[in-house]
Amino acid sequence: MHKKSLGMKIFTIFNYTFLTLLALTCLLPMINQLAISFSSSSAVAAGDVGLFPVDFTLDSYKYMADKPEFWKSLMVSLKRILIAVPFSMIICVLAAFPLSRQDHEFPARKYYIWMFVVPMLIGGGLIPTYIVVRNTGLIDSIWALVLPYTVNVFNTILLMNFFRSLPKELEEAAYVDGATHWQVLVRIILPVSKPVLATVTLFVIVNHWNSWFDGLIYLNSPDHYPLQTYLQTQVVSANLMALESLRDIRQIGMISDRTGKASQIFLAAVPVLMIYPFLQKYFTAGIVMGSVKG
């Protein structure tokens, strides 16, 4: 481009600065917690900790190391993911394939697709769903955290749209050679669907890692809580109770535990941080595909 006007230059400087600051605000709260978790309790209580640790110490992590409930709940979360992810992926892929067929090949498709869309438009509501989970005998079992969320309609539609967008020539050739639907799905469709399978798998992992409310209502024993439910009951509700008395600054117990809480919060965010680069590689395309094309 040729010479920029003065106004354009000013705007460009403003724009870069503004976006940089905006992006930083997205990370600063987590960085503050990270700094708190590596600081001494007294520095934290004095309010000296901003973005860098003060009196660097690993105390809060040492304290965490022998906190059995934390690790127990971490194991529950991992177990949940190991069960739920393959289960959910298989069932959603199996559903997405028939839904991706052309109407004239599979005339029942148009009825089936409504059966998937209706639950997306209107949910059963908290209490009736709870009663069904209870009556299907899942209370206090890890399956209560898996079965009700196995069919994710959004993910299924994402898979369906991807399958539909694939060129038809290969599968037509396979059908002509006498391949069954199973063979077409496994040998033709799945090998070229790696990007969408990766996207959906990561979505499912993050969803299961992050969900906490189901653990709270479907599990009776805190021993069975996944990590986020454990954090909800141990860190967040405890904090909210302390809020009640926050006006007087005497809740010393709470303040001195801030480092411990910060370290737990940070550790719970670590897995998301770890898979985020992979997630980011794929989800943009997924979102656009899912929300615009529908």
């Binding site: 069904v132 639907h181 967040v236």
Partner: protein, 300 residues
Amino acid sequence: MKKSKRRLKNWSLHLMLLPALILLLVYNYIPLVGNVMAFQKFNPSKGFFRSKWVGLKNFEYVFNLPDIYQVIWNTFYIAVLKIIMGVVIPVIVALLLNEIRKMKFKRTIQTMIYFPHFLSWVILAGVFVDVLSPSSGVIGKAFTAMGLEPVFFLGDPKWFPYTMVLTDTWKEFGYGTIVYLAALTGIDPSLYEAAVMDGANRWKQTLHVTLPGILPIVLLMSILAMGNIFNAGFDQIFNMYSPQVYSTGDILDTLVYRIGMLDAQYGVATAIGLFKSVISFAMLGISYALAYKYTDYRVF
């Protein structure tokens, strides 16, 4: 004939759908039908159809609750503010990002602003309760340092709804830009070339090419957001509210939780839930009809 032969083999397609359909039936459709408990004095041992029918008693009870109209208003108020912010801020940020020519910078910013979307409200509530604490949090310290009285963001009923709207916007605005950025890259470059030929500067290009280019998608997203008119954000509010802010912060979903799960008044809680679902569904229906009429949007 080839076509009929193919159709004969379609039983395997039905079979593939079966597991998903069974799970949808049990965990989505049965609860949907289970909403009949809003008209019952529900007894868990008797189930959805043998519990005692009480007509509209549960609804009468609900609409005689002293705070119910306040709760409905809170839900609506917080949800509407979130809907507005959820369109306006991402559109502005997407427009600003679109002006960035250094691709590496743009991608770094995107990476940073998408991130909070992937953290749960449990984690973020833990963070915000600490950061926003007037006595010990960084924000409180900053207020004190500037000689201001620290604001009790999570404990003051006057501030609580706005704290919810702001923190939710903070979490979701980056993710919200994705759709608009995609729409922006979809604008035909020849339109810009034509505008330059006509002597339009960057501001004029934004006004006459970029904005009209993304207007349909902005319209679509705003229309579709209408279905969220009563979704004030249970995960967020449940993790950040406390009895002292119930007056402005209690919403339908948290009320359902307390009445249903804590007090075990299943029928009453379901009545509230059903009231919310029916209105949301109606809004969703209207919004989809509008989207169908005014944009090219089809659900599938």
